[in-house]
Amino acid sequence: MITKSLHKRESELAYSKRQLEILSNGIFKNGDLPIFSKKIAETNQFPLKAKKLEILQINVGYMCNQVCEHCHVDAGPDRKEIMTKETMLQCLEVIKKTGAHTLDLTGGAPEMNPNFRWFVDEASKIGVKDFIVRSNLTIIKSNKKFSDLPAFFKSHNIHVVSSMPHWTRGKTDKQRGFGVFNQSIEALKELNSIGYGIPESDLRLDLVYNPSGAFLPGNQASLEKDFKKALFEDFNIHFHHLFAITNLPISRFLDYLIASDNYEDYMYSLVEAYNPTAVKNVMCTNTLSVSWDGNLYDCDFNQMLELPINSKIKHISEYNEDLLFNRNIVISQHCYGCTAGSGSSCQGTLA
């Protein structure tokens, strides 16, 4: 079980440059597999273009109480990158004028940002149609000061989206750490008890499923059925939807793939499962990602790979939605993770 981020371990994979090299060399350089731009060009989908902005995703910091093995953020307690109040104020200005209907706060554990609650208060006042917080569930149980989070979420009508890699303890703890399963179950019960995730309730609670290994997620609808049945029968737990998300070959998941000698097979399976229909709706076409220091990216993955947005506008302080519209999306081979099978995004499958 890992306890430190790649950054703390000073692993070479902590460097985005190194990750991008790996993704461009080997099987892609020697032509065994086509590079992503070539693949999408086959169906005239190159270059990928940004459509109307619908989702503003803000990463408020890489600090997290967990150190999950598959984490594409390389998050953990040892990461110190945290969004300042000043940058948050700039984000609030943008939230006031954006045409996006969804605000999506992520991290790390977003709740660990000392100004998290203030930021949620302020953003709520502006009025956001769908206000998502990606909460890892265990944070609620990790420290007394977080135990009132469910009530806080409820008072702001937050749409809670939480990770749950499996409905059994073994698989969950293997990916996310010992004890994570029990704590997550406790947190879900608490959320249920105040109305979150109950059928017909407006307090939305969705779960995210990532495969716990070097394989792709199965069919989202049948996984949702299995999760619902098991969590209800075993623990009396309800939730609304399950998003099945493919692990992208970057950061800690890339490290795992290489260390377990699965990298090439995994890339083959992503490319084999390539689905041109999923390309139309990849997340970057309607989402913009803001990093803890206010820089703009096409998606959270590009943020971690430090692939800046292809626009004159690079920072939240210079924000201009009209100028960002129709920009070319910055892509590399990790993008195959978004287009495999039924496709994958922070909101689940695409096609």
Partner: protein, 111 residues
């Protein structure tokens, strides 16, 4: 000619069997995908049956395919191993049940 009888890369070429007989190949793959659709049994149950049968016929391609398929469906390793024991019990039982034939014969011939 390849040096080993089995090559994992050949699994991906399964579809090529249609190249030499398109009509029958197509009929087979249509049938195959229909069989695995949800019916009276769920796709999950069918995947576990396939895994058990794969071990019974000891087909490395099928073992590869249905182990991966099971993981994608969230089937646990405990469930997979139990399915294998069902296959093993039937296989072992099939040998042993013939022991009755042996016993009958011995009883008939022995004084």
């Amino acid at each position: 000619m390849q040096k080993t009888y089995y090559d994992p890369a050949d699994l991906k070429k399964f579809g090529k069997i249609s190249d030499w007989n398109e009509e029958l190949g197509k009929k087979f793959f249509d049938y195959y995908s229909k069989v695995f659709e949800e019916g009276a049994l769920t796709e999950r149950e069918k995947s576990l049956i396939a895994l058990a049968v794969a071990h019974t016929i000891q087909c490395p391609y099928c073992i590869d395919a249905y182990t991966g398929d099971g993981l994608q469906r969230g089937i646990t390793k405990e469930e997979m191993m139990e399915a294998l024991h069902v296959a093993a019990a039937i296989r072992g039982g099939a040998s042993l049940v013939h022991g009755v034939q042996m016993m009958n014969k011995v009883n008939k011939l022995d004084m």
